[in-house]
């Protein structure tokens, strides 16, 4: 195509054709502005259709391989004491991902990498590490909140089983212990992650707000649940325990815990229950 050269820069030019088309294209180096020149349209290379098909197939295969190597999470288990962590599990209940939501949670996971371990070993390892790092202390009262999000019904991850699992491996043997295990749906878990909170603490935030009890987000994320209870004047069990399981071992601080609330399957429990070490 030929046109009147109006502008030229870096091998391309803008021309006006005799029939009024302003077009941009490749022009010769020697062409001068104001002359009628031949212009080559700038053609955007298009993939042949077979190439597009091949790209789609490749993408599908790639996605399949990726899914084989990194399967999507079958379930998420969030554990909150003072450290706030979440474990993503595959269908074998092995940890495929771990995430710390607060400073102590991140530190704990940095010290105790549980990826690849079965859930039981992971929980046990994390509680043990929390004890040695001073997040859990013998003789103190502790509140543990476990929130589970799972695809469909899964007996291995029901709230009762999880509460028992934590109780069995809890390293601090003296003092009170309250374990609250609840189930959360995927949307709640997604909203919690979006707010950079564990599912358990997000549920607490929601309930506190519903009761008109404001809480500073930083405080909610960083402090131990026992401190949160003391500051807010409510217990975790009364806030979120209604729909889950609560396991209580009476200690000095928790002796006043009302056991009539929530769904209790073994409460109160004596101090040396489940045959754990002393």
């Amino acid at each position: 195509m030929r046109g009147f050269l109006l502008k030229k820069k870096d091998g391309t030019g803008i021309v006006l054709t005799r029939d009024g088309l302003f077009m941009q294209g490749m022009v010769g180096e020697a062409e001068v502005i104001g002359e009628e020149v031949a212009v080559q349209p700038i053609v955007k290379r298009r993939f042949p259709s077979w190439m597009a098909m091949a790209a789609v197939v490749l993408a599908c295969v790639g996605f399949g391989v990726y899914r084989l190597a990194f399967p999507p999470a079958f379930a998420y288990v969030a554990v909150d004491v003072e450290p706030s962590v979440e474990l993503a599990l595959d269908s074998r209940l092995a940890v495929i991902e771990q995430r710390g939501f607060n400073a102590s949670g991140k530190r704990l996971l940095a010290l105790e990498d549980v990826r690849g371990k079965p859930l039981e070993a992971a929980v046990s390892g994390l509680l043990e590490r929390a004890f040695t790092e001073g997040y859990l202390r013998d003789g103190r009262d502790h509140v543990v909140l476990v929130a589970v999000t799972v695809r469909g019904e899964e007996e291995r991850l029901d709230t009762e089983t999880l509460a028992c699992l934590v109780a069995r491996d809890f390293p601090a043997v003296r003092g009170g212990l309250e374990i609250v295990a609840v189930q959360a749906d995927w949307r709640t878990r997604w909203e919690a992650a979006r707010n950079n909170l564990s599912t358990g603490r997000y549920l607490l935030q929601r309930e506190l707000e519903a009761q008109g009890l404001g809480v500073v987000p930083g405080f909610l994320r960083e402090e131990s649940l026992r401190q949160l209870e003391e500051k807010q004047g409510v217990t975790v069990a009364t806030l979120v325990g209604d729909e889950g399981s609560v396991l209580v071992r009476l200690g000095e601080g928790l002796s006043g815990t009302e056991t009539g609330q929530g769904s209790f399957f073994a409460a109160p429990v004596p101090g040396d229950w489940l045959g754990r070490r002393k």
Partner: protein, 236 residues
């Protein structure tokens, strides 16, 4: 007068037809006045200012020297001749006024310049003359908030659409009041009025307003944009 009619008259004038020559001179009086006026940058009047006589003689000379096979529009060539002769005229005037004894080298060169060499020099000036015209066109477009890059994107891809818009742009350019209004009112087209005058739908005018204005500018100022004006096909 369209290009073909002008070319016929030029051929006849060069062959010695005085009537044809007079018709060209008469038809192009406004053009000569405009070129001389823009060169001198002062108010002029026929019969009072020598510059206009110089311009008229230069235009007459351009008729004799014009070579259509060079591919340059006649009016563009005539503009070059007029400007060149006016430059000579002002140099001579200056020399008389100063009555200087020193020798002006450029004047000396000009005096000794062979007519053929001068003519060749004129033809060579066409290149820079075109570039200047395009520079001026781009500047006017910018005043209207239009860029050449935008026009590449806004040009209708279908030839028939462009032809219709070129025709409409000619109508708009011919409507002095409407065109000036388009320039005055925030450089925007009064869509309804333009649609009425050009026969386009208001939607088509709105959609193509920048393209329409870009072409109307060329058609509105044929003496300023001689090369562009003569390049675009004449429609309707």
């Amino acid at each position: 007068m369209d290009d073909a009619a002008l070319q016929k008259l030029l051929d006849r004038a060069k062959a010695g037809d005085a009537e044809a020559r007079n018709r060209i001179l008469e038809a192009c009086r406004n053009f000569i006045f405009s070129v001389v006026g823009s060169y001198c940058r002062k108010p002029l009047a026929w019969g009072q200012d020598d510059e206009l006589s110089v311009g008229l003689m230069a235009f007459n000379e351009a008729i004799n020297r014009y070579e259509p096979e060079r591919g340059v529009p006649f009016l563009a060539f005539a503009r070059l001749v007029i400007r060149s002769r006016l430059a000579n005229y002002f140099r001579q005037e200056n020399r008389h006024r100063k009555a200087s004894s020193g020798t002006d080298v450029s004047e000396e060169l000009l005096r000794n310049e062979a007519a053929a060499a001068w003519e060749e020099f004129l033809w060579q000036n066409v290149v820079s003359d075109r570039a200047e015209e395009i520079e001026e066109y781009e500047a006017v477009l910018n005043e209207f908030g239009i860029s050449l890059e935008e026009l590449v994107a806004l040009s209708p891809k279908h030839r028939d659409s462009r032809m219709a818009l070129i025709k409409a742009a000619r109508s708009l350019a011919a409507e002095k009041k409407l065109f000036e209004q388009s320039g005055a009112e925030k450089k925007r087209l009064p869509v309804r009025d333009v649609a009425k005058k050009t026969g386009l739908s208001p939607r088509a005018v709105e959609k193509n307003r920048k393209y329409l204005l870009a072409l109307a500018i060329i058609f509105r100022y044929p003496e300023r944009f001689i090369y562009l004006n003569s390049y675009i096909n004449k429609v309707g």
